[in-house]
């Protein structure tokens, strides 16, 4: 499956920000990255040499084993740190998803705090629709097959998606797309 970066970036301050911007700009312009989960090109070789610049600002964290994932049974983990609102879920949906990894590209991970006003969407995964929600506060729902886009509701953006990599049977979280509720910067808690 996908190649991935082996090293975390050690940039700090302004340099770190530049890293982030590079990652964004790359994804914005790119149609050729099989390795990042955000770009859903079905086939083709990844441009692995660009990986470090893209995801290296985030920690690379082991979050599970593919062989232990069961369809539609979400697993919780924390990312990118152990701070507030870091709770995320990893779920094998059984259908191909935007940003999915695994043979079926059906393994995705998302932050679990509603990006409207911070409602906790604990245990709200709807296996029949691959939707997370409704948020108990104001009923927002998110489509996990489509990068966490808002299905119905009031959120100001998609649910932040955790970028995944697969190394054999090991599942790693390597980055994040979208600002986590409550934070002004994903890497500051």
């Amino acid at each position: 499956m996908a190649e991935h970066s082996k090293k975390a970036c050690s940039c700090k301050g302004k340099a770190k920000k530049n890293c982030t911007i590079n990652r964004r700009q790359f994804l914005f312009a790119s149609g050729a990255t099989a390795f990042t989960v955000m770009v859903t090109v079905r086939s083709g070789k990844g441009h692995a040499e660009q990986v470090p610049a893209l995801v290296s600002t985030y920690p690379r964290k082991h979050i599970g084993k593919l062989s232990e994932m069961h369809q539609d049974v979400p697993v919780e983990f924390s990312y990118p740190d152990e701070g507030d609102y870091s709770t995320s879920i990893l779920v094998k949906t059984g259908v191909e998803c935007g940003g999915g990894v695994g043979q079926q590209r059906d393994l995705v991970a998302f932050n679990m705090t509603c990006t409207h006003q911070g409602g906790d969407m604990y245990e709200s995964y709807k296996p029949e629709h691959k939707v997370l929600g409704p948020c108990p506060l104001h009923l927002s729902t998110y489509d996990l097959t489509r990068h966490g886009i808002l299905v119905s509701g009031q959120a100001y953006q998609s649910l932040p998606q955790v970028l995944l990599e697969l190394d054999g049977d090991d599942i790693y979280a390597v980055g994040m797309f979208g600002l986590i509720y409550g934070r002004y910067d994903n890497l500051a808690s």
Partner: protein, 893 residues
């Protein structure tokens, strides 16, 4: 145009201590949540994550419901020509409206509305444009205004005032609507005048008008405090979010039962069901039957609110007093004396109701295609007294899905149901509209109804159907302000054909550099039977501006000027200027004033928007948004009216407002028709105006008129329209979707919203989809060979001359074809045999399929009534893309 790829940010700047904090309210839906703008120069240091280093006094990460800033809530704007950060967030200290600091997605991302050339807002209109050699070219204000005024004067002189048509928004701030209506009605005095949402300047809810109900009498808390709430033709969660999330949801969590009368199940309906509510999934246009069937069950069981009726419903003599005493020339006078609606009181109405077989629940349910039990359940919840004899507190909310389906009939029927269930006049027991846009209209002149050619049988004058007048070729100068006109009206494609013929296809086109020659060309256009179009807007809309306009005026909008407006509970606030309008864009009042002066009109010498407001406020006296006393207070304190209103921040003043005996304390109005309210004993002394509607109803006696609502005034149209199912026809209706506002003028420039809703879509029931081989994500063609269009302006002589079947028989209805494409969304959330689309996509306008035949009593379009066939074209790119759209159900709760 927006890139369809939304790339989310992962950080956002925070406002520093000392950032400017400016209160405003959302620009969009009627609820008008309070917002705060935090502004600081880009050269200054942004705030930090600790409470002592940011303007929110909050430590980050913030708590749920806290002062979080989503990246879409930040922008960079010019303020006094210097770049500034702005963060625009719902007011976390809000005491009214959006309590809890809540917001919808629309308002929540309003920072993206601001002009910023690095975002898709870069195509804001920045200079006046004139079409020269077929191309819209930038020109100075003077040239654009002079040409428009010279041609306008010529048209009025040669072709009469009605040849000058004004089609305008009704709501985009008091200063603008006042200036526009002063210009069009008081000075030009044209009957060829109407608003963005109707072909004729008529009341939206004739039944409410006749019964005595104000559209916006209730307070938001009433919708929460009702025990049973009947919601007709809207899901407020989708359309006026905060009314739902902050008020109705809390009501339901407190045991309120909500009943929805609507063919579609969206999230708000689904949540109500989950909370024990009821969804009556009616077939379009059958509301009247179901409402009257509910009323029938109530009166058959004797569940009506007899004490209330005794005290507050006009009897025979009261019903006739005042009625029929006037000219019978206004719609209200003739409707109430015509004999079709008026009754001699409750018993007379009841007798009529019980005599109509179509209101027997089983019969009504059969036509509406619903489970008859729902009629009985609704009646019980709304009116059945409890064992201790107390009654449920019942309220009724209506909106466009209801009153734009059978405008007169439905609003008459619901008024009667409201009256017998004791709605209106008490806390938690109210009846009103939920609302669409905000309430920013103040008229600076009155509509010259007697100049309208529209005459119904008898002495019955009605405001002009401006679409039909245009199609007949009488409009020589169309002045279009802040509306798409064409896509917003029924039979859009018929209307577009005529615009094309009268403008683009006319031989007189500007091909000159010389002002006199330009003016001469446009005069010839008008004289040759063609039409000159001038358009004021913030973006170039297609086709009204982009294709048909000869002159385009760039308008300044929300945040670019100080403006006043009221919301759906009559709360008036100042929407403050916080950044520079782009380029040479000017507020509409300024454009009108400078055009008016060139037309030779006096009274347009305003220097700023406050001066317009101070003149306009006098005309709010006696209205539901009467805030005249604030001007007095302001002047007593040496302030301007705008300054005074600004002091009330996001709370504003709930109107009508009056002053207490001390001459200083403001007395607000929580709800209209409040029979429990005690007014000051001094009465209407001094500056105070005490209108009947404060404590009574808007009728000749102050009591309600209970009126009949005959089905047969509409049933011939409904029967004709009804889909021929064996030919594959389905009902085709439309409405709002939460994520988009109006034509999407802002949303089309928000990458995230473009990603969510790249184009128009159509919900189709799985059975209907399967029969046609349609799957979610397929492109479909939605088309009709029989879109009816009323083509002649006629003088009615016989009583039924305007009845649809008569119009048809006499050759006044033209049937045309229409077709639009859309992306299919297969879902059981929409009733079988019904299609549902977004109501106003510029490229794929649902209104193209809706009949261009006005409700013949009121003059409103029944926008929600259409019929169409649908066929698969092939897969859209969204069917397999993972970035754009979602086909997951929207009713998961």
């Amino acid at each position: 145009m927006a890139t369809p790829y939304y790339v989310p940010e992962t950080n956002v700047p925070l406002p520093p201590k000392g950032a400017d904090v400016i209160s405003t309210a959302c620009d969009y839906c009627v609820v008008a949540c309070g917002y705060k703008v935090y502004r600081w120069p880009v050269t200054a240091k942004s705030g930090g994550p600790t409470a002592d280093s940011n303007a929110f006094d909050e430590d980050f990460p913030v708590a749920p419901l806290g002062a979080w800033v989503a990246p879409n809530q930040h922008n960079i704007v010019l303020h006094k020509n210097k770049p500034h950060h702005v963060v625009i967030v719902p007011d976390k200290d809000a005491e009214h409206v959006n309590t809890d600091g809540d917001s919808s997605l629309r308002g929540g991302c309003i920072a993206q509305k601001c002009y910023n050339p690095q975002t898709p807002t870069r195509d804001r209109l920045k200079t006046p444009l004139m079409r020269i050699y077929g191309t819209l070219m930038p020109v100075p204000w003077d040239l654009a205004l002079e040409v428009a005024a010279e041609v306008g004067k010529h048209v009025i002189k040669k072709h009469g005032t009605n040849a000058y048509g004004v089609k305008t928004f009704s709501y985009q701030y008091i200063e603008n609507t006042y200036a526009i209506s002063k210009y069009a009605l008081r000075h030009i005095n044209t009957a060829n005048f109407t608003f963005h949402d109707t072909p004729s300047d008529v009341t939206s809810t004739p039944g409410f008008r006749d019964a005595g109900f104000d559209n916006f009498g209730p307070a938001y808390e009433d919708w929460m405090n009702a025990e049973t709430l009947l919601v007709c033709g809207t899901d407020p969660y989708e359309t006026k979010t905060i009314l739902y999330t902050q008020w109705m949801m809390k009501g339901m969590q407190n045991g309120q039962k909500e009943i929805y009368l609507i063919p579609r199940r969206s999230a708000g309906v689904a949540y109500a069901e989950k909370m024990g509510g009821l969804h009556i999934d009616i077939t379009p246009g059958t509301d009247l039957l179901v409402v009257n069937a509910i009323a029938r069950v109530i009166v058959e069981n004797g569940w009506e609110d007899s004490d209330w009726i005794q005290k507050w419903v006009n009897n025979k003599w009261e019903s006739s007093s005042g009625f029929g005493q006037g000219t019978r020339n206004t719609p209200w006078q003739w409707r109430t004396t015509w004999g079709k609606f008026q009754t001699a009181g409750f018993e007379d109405w009841k007798k009529w109701l019980l005599a109509q077989d179509e209101f027997i629940p089983e019969n009504a349910a059969a036509v509406a295609e619903i489970d008859v039990q729902k009629i009985y359940t609704a009646a019980e919840w709304m009116a059945k007294p409890r064992e201790d004899g107390t009654r449920p507190k019942t309220s009724i909310m209506i909106e466009k899905g209801f009153y734009w389906s059978n405008n007169t009939g439905n609003t008459q029927a619901i008024s009667a149901l409201g009256i017998i269930t004791g709605c209106g006049g008490r806390p938690g027991q109210v009846i009103g509209r939920a609302g669409g846009h905000q309430r920013g209209g103040v008229k600076g002149g009155s509509y010259p109804r007697n100049k309208s050619p529209e005459k119904l049988p008898g002495r019955r004058r009605r405001a002009m159907d401006t679409d039909r007048y245009l199609i007949a070729g009488h409009t020589r100068f169309a002045h279009v302000i802040g509306t798409t006109w064409i896509q917003a009206m029924c039979g859009s494609q018929q209307l577009a054909d005529k615009f094309e013929e009268l403008t683009v296809q006319n031989p007189h086109q500007i091909r000159s550099f010389d002002k006199a020659e330009i003016i001469e060309t446009l005069k010839k256009r008008a004289d040759s039977g063609g039409m000159v179009v001038i358009n004021q807007d913030i973006y170039l809309q297609d086709p009204i501006g982009n294709r048909y306009a000869d002159i385009v005026f760039p308008a300044a909008t929300w945040g670019e000027e100080d403006f006043l407006r009221a919301n759906g509970e009559r709360r008036v606030r100042l929407y403050q200027k916080f950044y520079d309008a782009p380029g040479a864009a000017k507020p509409d009042w300024w454009i009108i004033a400078n055009l008016a002066k060139r037309m030779g009109f006096d009274g347009f010498d305003w220097e700023n928007s406050n001066e317009v407001a101070e003149e306009a406020v006098r005309f709010t006296r006696g209205s539901r948004k009467d805030f005249f006393v604030l001007k007095k207070l302001a002047h007593d304190e040496g302030k301007t009216l705008h300054q005074k209103v600004a002091e009330f921040g996001t709370s504003g003043i709930q109107c009508p407002a009056m002053l207490a005996d001390d001459g200083k304390t403001i007395i607000e109005t929580k709800r209209l028709h409040d029979t429990t309210r005690k007014l000051p004993e001094t009465g209407a002394a001094g500056i105070n105006m005490i209108n009947k509607k404060l404590t009574h109803f808007n009728s000749q006696t102050g009591k309600c008129n209970i009126q009949k609502s005959p089905w047969n005034l509409f049933s011939d149209y409904w029967e004709w329209l009804k889909p021929a199912k064996d030919e594959g026809e389905l009902w085709c209706t439309s409405g709002r979707i939460n994520e988009r506002w109006q034509s999407g003028f802002d949303d089309r420039r928000r990458p995230y919203i473009v990603q969510r809703w790249p184009e128009n879509w159509v919900e189709i029931h799985p059975d209907d989809a399967e029969a046609r081989g349609i799957e979610s994500g397929d492109y479909v063609m939605i088309y009709s060979e029989r879109v009816p269009g009323h083509k002649h302006t006629i003088l009615g002589v016989e009583a039924d001359d305007f009845q649809f079947s008569k119009l048809m028989e006499n050759g006044h209805i033209e049937l045309t074809k229409a077709a639009i494409t859309a992306v299919a969304m297969v879902t059981p959330a929409i009733k079988k045999s019904v299609l549902y689309m977004d109501f106003l996509h510029m490229q794929q306008p649902a209104n193209a399929l809706e009949g261009r035949v006005v409700d013949w009593i009121s003059g409103n379009y029944n926008y929600k009534m259409g019929v169409a066939k649908i066929k698969k074209l092939g897969p859209s790119p969204y069917k397999t893309s993972f970035r754009t759209m979602s086909f997951a159900p929207r009713d998961i709760v």
